[in-house]
């Protein structure tokens, strides 16, 4: 066959060397002139040694030599590099070392089309990445700035100068809307967004954006009713002229009480970026990071599936707490994880299923159920559940990171069913989005199906959130005190403060019913501050009556993460003129592990101040000795479930009493105090006394009491 064809195809644009002995080579094949220019040493003699004319190649020979010495059949590649020849020509090369038939070879390819293609795709991808990054950064910068400025300002139309300045300086179009989505202020850039189109808009820009958002994204209602942040791209058509792509970030601005003050919309024109994308067909339909179809393409597929009229589930998948993964491991690793996760999800999906990446941390899958059934049987949810379990299992296997550490990923999955839930693409997406929002509330990876019940529950939650919000604003809380007793002397040594929510009808809601919600919504931060302030007020009252006693206050994970916490505690103590030794903070084990660095910093600062710290619910989490040893902790509180298991008959206590004894012994060796929680019977008390645990709390001694009653009790006991 005529080799010139291979030549023209670029298949033979290479040189082949044979390794005769270490460092000595022979030219086997060379049809190229560039070789002599690049490596003159190959020119005359039969065999040659490399003479430092290509540093990269000679560096690669180290890897090559390792292969050759092993004599194992196979090959290693050098990766692409560039060389400028003396004639100024620029070459792109890639080398491979091989062992074949027990001979050693070195091949250098001159890359042409392969390089150009790779270059072009990466060029676009990177330009996109950069412009996207810049825009995202602008939006985020503005959010941070406005959070600070606007959250303090009273609800008024007259904004202060710093806000006006910030709005005028940014290139982003900004609209600030009140909680009813009415425009309060727009900046000049917002008006100029549409200046270049020579079109008289029928709507003000802020209305137009709301309109587009509502039409193009099924999550519109959910975002506003749940006061969530959102970012995405809106497409504005303007036939017959070219339309626009807008990147929009919607951001709720809340005040210190977490009440919604404003909505801020920031908008940038990304038409240029989209235009860039169109230059490359692959990039229009596929996501560059994962190689999966993108959101636009997914919509088309969803419409197609609906046309086929066969039942399927639409699964909406969101990665749990991805922001934290990014913070802990960095963005490069974050991206790598998404890539790996996409592969795993793909490996679980079947050929008939269709998977896409539809957002930063979001995937969608169309899961076909059995074709032959027209109606969903009850087992179909079973099919879907099994499938999602596989997805979750695949995602929860550890990801091993280059740094040597590992990381696990959880999934929130929402499902809506075609045709039972809806036969409309938009509605199906909207329902699946609602379901995923519900799944997010679970701590662990979970699947939620769209249902009427789910919607009701979410409405109820929103109502409850509103009520809690109002409770924060109107301070509808009360702080009760539960005495902590030295059982050897029956004296009260300390008291734990416990919050109650009193509704306007006088009824009381216990903390386990609203604290989790407060934690999720961030309302815990103002509530927690109120508790600390109230506890300090009590301490001040007790001081006046010379009944000084230590009070302990519970801290939640969000509070621990709150940067202002320390300052707040310091100021409050000073204002009430309280000695820090009278305040104790209680943290649960979970908090210790999840935020180790932050907790370590916080506890060290607290210790310096003189505030003591105890670990609540001890034994229920996984805290290891090493944590306890490394952190400045003063007491541990044995969880009530262990105390309750102490029964009258000491013989059949099983392992629980052993745990208590172990905890007591361990605490002693670490020089920590031990407090038993939930003591309800005399025999439990006797058991504790016998085993040297003298500090206890529980109904046997007293329930949590309102402040006045607590003072009375304190008076009689001490």
């Amino acid at each position: 066959m005529d080799t010139s064809l291979f030549h023209d195809l670029g298949l033979l644009d290479c040189v082949i060397f044979k390794r005769i002995e270490p460092t000595k080579y022979e030219v086997l094949y060379n049809a190229q002139d560039w070789l002599f220019e690049l490596l003159p040493e190959t020119k005359s003699q039969k065999s040659f040694r490399f003479a430092q004319n290509s540093l990269y190649l000679e560096d690669f020979l180290i890897d090559a030599e390792a292969l050759w010495i092993s004599k194992q059949p196979g090959s290693v590649d050098s990766g692409i590099w560039s060389e400028t020849l003396p004639s100024r020509e620029l070459l792109q090369l890639e080398a491979s070392a091989m062992v074949c038939n027990q001979q050693e070879y070195l091949v250098i390819h001159k890359l042409k089309d392969k390089f150009t293609q790779k270059q072009q795709t990466l060029q676009i991808a990177r330009e996109l990445l950069l412009s996207n990054d810049k825009i995202t950064e602008q939006h985020e910068h503005l959010h941070a700035q406005m959070d600070e400025l606007l959250s303090q300002s009273e609800r008024t139309k007259a904004f202060q100068q710093p806000i006006i300045n910030a709005l005028e300086q940014t290139d982003l179009g900004v609209a600030i809307l009140d909680s009813n989505l009415q425009l309060v202020k727009g900046n000049p850039a917002l008006q100029t967004l549409f200046n270049d189109t020579h079109i008289a808009l029928k709507l003000p820009v802020d209305r137009l954006i709301l309109e587009l958002f509502k039409k193009q994204y099924p999550e519109y209602d959910r975002v506003f009713s749940t006061r969530s942040a959102w970012t995405g791209e809106l497409c504005w058509l303007n036939p017959p002229e070219q339309g626009k792509w807008l990147k929009v970030a919607i951001h709720p601005i809340k005040n210190a009480d977490q009440a919604l003050q404003y909505w801020m919309f920031s908008v940038s024109d990304v038409t240029q970026i989209k235009f860039l994308l169109k230059r490359n067909e692959k990039l229009t339909h596929f996501d560059v990071l994962t190689d999966l179809p993108n959101r636009q393409y997914f919509w088309q597929q969803l419409e197609n599936k609906i046309k086929k009229n066969r039942p399927f589930y639409l699964l909406y998948i969101d990665i749990k707490n991805f922001k934290r993964i990014n913070e802990v491991h960095g963005h490069l690793i974050g991206d790598q994880l998404i890539k790996d996760l996409a592969k795993r999800l793909q490996s679980v999906t079947r050929v008939d299923d269709y998977i896409a990446r539809i957002g930063g941390t979001e995937f969608a899958i169309i899961m076909e159920t059995d074709y032959f059934r027209k109606q969903f049987a009850s087992t179909d949810q079973g099919q879907c559940k099994t499938f999602v379990q596989e997805l979750i299992r695949a995602s929860e296997l550890p990801f091993y990171l280059e740094s040597g550490s590992q990381c696990e990923i959880g999934l929130n999955v929402g499902a809506s069913a075609f045709p039972t839930d809806s036969n409309d693409a938009e509605e199906l997406m909207k329902y699946a989005d609602l379901a995923v929002f519900a799944a997010k509330k679970q701590v662990k990876s979970s699947l939620e199906f769209y249902s009427k019940k789910l919607v009701d529950a979410s409405l109820k939650r929103i109502e409850m959130e509103d009520a809690l919000q109002k409770a924060v604003t109107n301070k509808q809380f009360e702080l009760f005190l539960q005495p902590i007793i030295d059982i050897s002397s029956s004296k009260i040594v300390k008291a734990e403060t416990l919050i109650r929510w009193r509704l306007s009808d006088g009824s009381i809601i216990a903390p386990d019913e609203f604290i989790p919600l407060a934690e999720q919504t961030g309302l815990i931060v103002p509530i927690g501050k109120w508790v600390i302030a109230e506890a300090c007020r009590f301490l001040n009252e007790l001081k006046k009556t010379h009944q000084e006693i230590k009070l302990s206050v519970n801290l939640s994970p969000r509070q621990v993460a709150d940067r202002q916490l320390l300052d707040f505690i310091k100021t409050t103590l000073t204002q009430q003129d309280i000695s820090p030794e009278l305040l104790e903070l209680e943290l649960t084990e979970g908090v210790l592990i999840d935020n180790y660095d932050k907790v370590h910093y916080l506890l060290t600062e607290l210790r310096t101040l003189g505030i003591s710290v105890s670990i609540d619910d001890f034994g229920t989490g996984y805290s290891s000795l090493s944590y306890l040893q490394k952190l400045p902790i003063d007491h541990i509180k044995i969880d009530r479930s262990f105390t309750m298991s102490i029964q009258d008959n000491e013989q059949d206590q099983g392992g629980n009493s052993a745990i208590i004894l172990a905890v007591i012994a361990m605490a002693k060796s670490l020089k920590l105090g031990v407090i038993a929680e939930g003591v309800e019977t005399d025999s439990q008390k006797e058991f504790l006394l016998r085993n040297q645990c003298h500090i206890a709390q529980g109904y046997l001694f007293s329930r949590p009491l309102p402040f006045n009653e607590f003072c009375k009790l304190l008076n009689t006991k001490n």
């Binding site: 540093l55 990269y56 560096d59 180290i62 890897d63 990766g79 692409i80 590099w81 560039s82 060389e83 792109q92 890639e94 390089f115 790779k118 270059q119 990466l122 060029q123 991808a125 990177r126 330009e127 990445l129 950069l130 990054d133 810049k134 950064e137 602008q138 910068h141 941070a144 560059v288 990071l289 960095g330 963005h331 490069l332 690793i333 991206d335 790598q336 890539k339 280059e402 740094s403």
Partner: protein, 163 residues
């Protein structure tokens, strides 16, 4: 003459190639042509005591498309991490790359805060910036466009590597 290998690392588009072009050829171009793989340039630095040949490895941007490749650091005497003052993300990534590089090579790392000629848009506080600079042997404010800080940075490296 002694030869020293120096690797230029950083996120894409921060100006690695431009810095080298400015240093070796005294040229700057506004056009962005992303690098694929590696390109090595050489330049001789004339220190008062001796001459050093720097072999400067321009390595493609480390981002979601191309990961960090430890093997490029083999035999290097120092590395420069380039970041872009107009993109704060590039500093975060620079920091990540620094940590990865330090794990495989115990050699000095130099930080280049590039594009000095443009208005800074990142919003790091001075103390945050100081924290980030801390593990580096030294940091330089550079502009591949005006040439500010470029010669200075490479001479500094040549100097510490011969001392």
């Amino acid at each position: 003459m002694i030869q020293k290998k120096i690797c230029i690392l950083g996120a894409s588009g921060v100006g690695k190639t431009s810095l080298i072009k400015q240093y070796v050829e005294g040229i700057f171009s506004e056009k962005y042509l992303t690098s694929i793989g590696v390109k090595i340039d050489k330049k001789i630095v004339d220190l008062s005591s001796e001459k050093v040949q720097l072999m400067i490895w321009d390595i493609e941007g480390i981002d979601r498309y191309c990961g960090f490749q430890a093997k490029y650091l083999r035999g290097a005497s120092a590395f420069i991490i380039v970041t872009d003052r107009t993109r704060s993300q590039s500093l975060i990534e620079g920091n990540e790359i620094f940590n990865m590089a330090k794990e495989v090579a115990d050699i000095p790392g130099i930080l280049a805060l590039n594009k000095k000629d443009l208005p800074t848009t990142w919003h790091w506080s001075d103390s945050e910036l100081a924290d980030i600079k801390h593990p580096f042997a030294k940091s330089f404010d550079t502009s591949a466009k005006s040439g500010e800080g470029v010669e200075e940075m490479f001479s500094y490296i040549a100097k510490i590597l011969t001392e």
